[in-house]
Amino acid sequence: MDKNLSQRQLDMKRSLLDQGYLDEQFIQLEELQDEDSPNFVEEMVTTFYNNSARLLENIEQALVTGPIDFAKLDNYMHQFKGSSSSIGATRVKNECTRFREHCTAANAEGCIRTFLRVKQEHTILRTKLETYFQLARQAGPSASGGGAKVR
């Protein structure tokens, strides 16, 4: 095992936690991962990104196709927020909360503005996690994460 890479992985995780990209829930997922399910965390993240792509498309469509149905938007975002929360994606989750506040206030401009931030945080996190899982893979089987590729 290359100790330097494993340390890089740990450092990156600490950094992601400190900067609020990830929270305790991500740690919980890593604790659930074991020899029987060595790729659990990466699978969860992959599932999140696969499912959220569709949700974000639906939200975007609902925003550009007037008149805006705030109840429908709120419902989509409720689902998206739930998923973000399940993988510990704090920043994404927080932007979702702000978006829903604008829905409640029927504030279209606020929704659009916040939606752009949701997408931004969503993309930023994906890049960081791809790097993180790559580091985990390089560190070998004793580190968290296994041999599965990030799709």
């Binding site: 699978e43 969860m44 599932t47 499912n51 998923s83 929360s85 399940s86």
Partner: protein, 183 residues
């Protein structure tokens, strides 16, 4: 582990979110439960041996089959609250209305912390209410309810019942003890 040579408990998990199904399956498997996960209340009822078609037919006098045996052996049902079509609450009610299913403990999960919702579920007979994201510490609260099921069938296991009475739930869950809500 508790009792020696116990068969695995079978938990039916219901959640429309693929991600959350994956998570709850992992949590339950880690806790040594056999899991079946479905994505709707309708599918849950089908799995439990209740056929939705029979429910919807106007000329069917009774909603549930006359033989009071489940098709499959399920020891606990854990369900999300917010689901399209049949909510977790609707599912809970149907289970409690069923002669064959009403004794199966039901646990509700929700990402929303709404006291009136929580109380409504507990009043309807849910054993626990978990806030999402569900964690291992929440899943550990399922055991007393599962053991209670065994106690009903055979001689009461005093130790386990005592353990259930002594366990307390922090703010993130609500436990139903004989109709009294314990915070």
């Amino acid at each position: 582990m508790g009792m020696a040579a116990e068969a695995q408990f079978h938990v039916l998990a219901v959640d429309d979110s693929h991600l959350d199904r994956k998570l709850i399956e992992m949590l339950l498997k880690t806790s040594s439960y056999h899991v079946t996960a479905v994505d709707s209340g309708t599918k849950a009822l089908e799995f439990l041996g209740v056929h939705e078609d029979e429910q919807n037919q106007a000329n069917t006098p009774s909603v549930f089959p006359n033989d009071h045996h489940q098709d499959v052996d399920v020891n606990l049902i854990i369900t999300d609250y917010c689901m399209p079509g049949m909510t977790g609450y609707d599912l809970l009610r149907k289970i409690k209305e069923s002669k064959s299913l009403k004794d199966i403990p039901v646990v509700i999960m929700s990402s929303d912390n709404i006291p009136s919702r929580i109380n409504r579920c507990l009043e309807e007979g849910a054993e626990e209410f978990f806030l999402k994201p569900v964690q291992l510490s929440d899943v550990s609260k399922l055991r007393p309810h599962l053991l209670k099921g065994i106690a009903k069938e055979s001689q009461p296991n005093i130790d386990n019942i005592k353990a259930m009475e002594e366990s307390h739930s922090p703010d993130r869950t609500r436990t139903n003890y004989n109709g009294l809500e314990v915070a």
